[in-house]
Amino acid sequence: MNRYEKVGLTKEEYKRIVEGLNREPNDLELSMFGVLWSEHCSYKNSRALLKLFNTKGERVLQGPGENAGAVDIGDDLAVVFKIESHNHPSALEPYQGAATGVGGILRDIFTMGARPIANLNSIRFGHLNDERNKRLLKGVVNGIGNYGNSVGIPTVAGETVFDDCYSDNPLVNAMSVGIIRKDKLKRAIAQGVGNSVILVGHTTGRDGIGGASFASCNLTEESEAMRSAVQVGDPFMEKLLLEACLELMDKEYVVAVQDLGAAGLTSSSCEMALRGGCGIKIDVSKVVTREENMLPEEIMISESQERMLFVVKKGYEEEILKVFKKWNLNAAVIGEIIDDKNLTVTAGDKVVGCVPVELLGDGAKATLRSYRRPKYLDELHLDIDSLKRVEDLNDALIKVLKSENIASKEWVYRQYDYMVRTNTIVRPGGDAAVVAVEGTDKALSLTVDCNSRYCYLDPYEGAKIAVCEAARNIAATGATPIAITDCLNFANPEDEEVYYTFRQAILGITEASKVLNTPVVSGNVSFYNESNKTRIYPTPTIGMVGLLEDKNKACTIDFKELGDSVILVGE
């Protein structure tokens, strides 16, 4: 195997790196390119198409591109939200995979300065007659519950779906929603030569090394052997990190904040510098490590959880360290902003790597892949008249109610603390959840939806239907839909037929979101959800936020009184 293949790069990509650097990259640099140019970090297969989304609207304060999107809800407040996948880790270790998924999305919200007020999740498995699927479901629900419950953020809504196509590739999409005063929105833009870079939160270990590139490969027997790819979450640490960060967020000396997700220190430092058009210098010897003798490259790409990167004005480092100390968290000054546009990595005084920020962060070519209408679409047809007549309707009704996809999901959501912080007006079990916005008369209505079978049958219409279903759920609580976030779960994009469904789904979402005036403000793409046996249905999960001006008017789904009229509306 070639050097570049080991880190998941192609020959062509390697050539571009050598040209960009004017030399061969050393091992550290190559690893950084490997993780950042992976699909998971670079969105190289989706970026070009994501541009098609409808992202503008009078309420939009922050569209896609930041840690999370932000939308104006009046009263000087903004709602900040995003959805994210943690599919592959959850297939390997359902409990930790799902838990760290929740941890990651929460950090995306509070890096923007917002206090998370609610979590949602969309989870999909193979049918429950299989013991493994049952274990996956139990582990995932346990992981989502435990993490959210411990941090003290109510998990208020979601969806739980079963289909054979998810047997080898369960889907775990986690969404989080936060509130912030709109003038306090933080952005992750590194600025100001000489300003300090501070790493805070958990210690850095070898766990999760290679996680990002891992998330971009097909699930094969080999990945089962890539042991270190699983990370362990520590919700307790996250809770402390959340409180400490929010305590600092409105300080004027905090220039920028970014959480460490996929590709760890490499991606966070590079992205921040890229947005700020500056350079950044990191001294790995200053990083507080959990294990001895960690190599610079291990430190740079570790995916240890519950960590954040701060850029602060020179001279204010102590202020930051003091707050983190109070919360019993690590914090160390590990670098500074520099004026050349490089990411320079040192170990003490010795430079161990130096690459242009632009090449590393933006050099992975956005490819518009070729696509082809899948053959199966032409083969699908059903003659309704050929179906057998249902004789016993009672029996049929019971069968429908008993089926996994229709049956009550109380077993799931009862394991989530959906009431903590006493703002939950409409609880899970209805169409959408409603959560009060403290200090106002307003409430937010929240839901996630996708019928992936429809998307399989017609990716364009199916995606439109997902957006519309979400909007109906919101409307049914009395709220007005205002914006969406999306999680595009698909199979291998290098397959032209898969790429076709991906493209169609984006066009469908775009169309529906224009008509409903619910712009896309954030989202996530997860490819390679397939095994050598199965391929998931196209699954563009839609997370939607609605606004209710008067929280006392929230509607619930239950029939209220004997004698009330029941009216069916719509087409």
């Binding site: 003290g152 919700p235 989530y416 009431m419 006493t422």
Partner: protein
Amino acid sequence: MKAGVIVFPGSNCDIDAYKVLEKLNVEVKYIWHDEKIDDEDLIVLPGGFSYGDYLRCGAIARFAKALENINEHIEKGKLVLGICNGFQILTELKALPGALLRNKNLNFICSDCNLIVENTDTPFTNLFKKGDIVNFPIAHGEGNYYIDDEGLGELIKNNQIVFRYQNNPNGSVADIAGIVNKRGNVLGMMPHPERAQDKLLGGEDGLVFFKSVIAYFKEV
């Protein structure tokens, strides 16, 4: 009357407890885990996952600085209320007998929950009538109250059982949801009265509970 809500790292119902007391015009403040408690009339140990609830729920919180003088506080006759994680901490402290084990079904349970008021002769329940049914939500993974037969006999003899579950959700011995110490000034309970503070959020039975405390201090 003055109240203090202790905030451990990992507490997450601290705000809810504070909110309900504030709503009832009680002078209330937060007490950070490594500050000392002062002369508060009511100390609330809130729900949550103190110190991550690692090892056993409440095991590490018991050693917090804020709890150093808790025994003297109790001896003085001041009130201590432990809700959920707070109840777990109080049993770890041995301020209340017994222990809380994992729910019998092994899962975390969040839901509404009907309780039967067994004892109205406490500072926390004096506005209820014996046999009242109240709805305080539950949200816990380890709320299965355990005590041996002898201990149970003591609880019954001394009328220390304050709330019982109408439909035992977690396997607790004798359907016990909340108990007081012998003197009656320390109450531990798994259900959350502070979550039942607003009709819009599903009920306000909890207000009666906290008003009882206020009424108690008006008397003395």
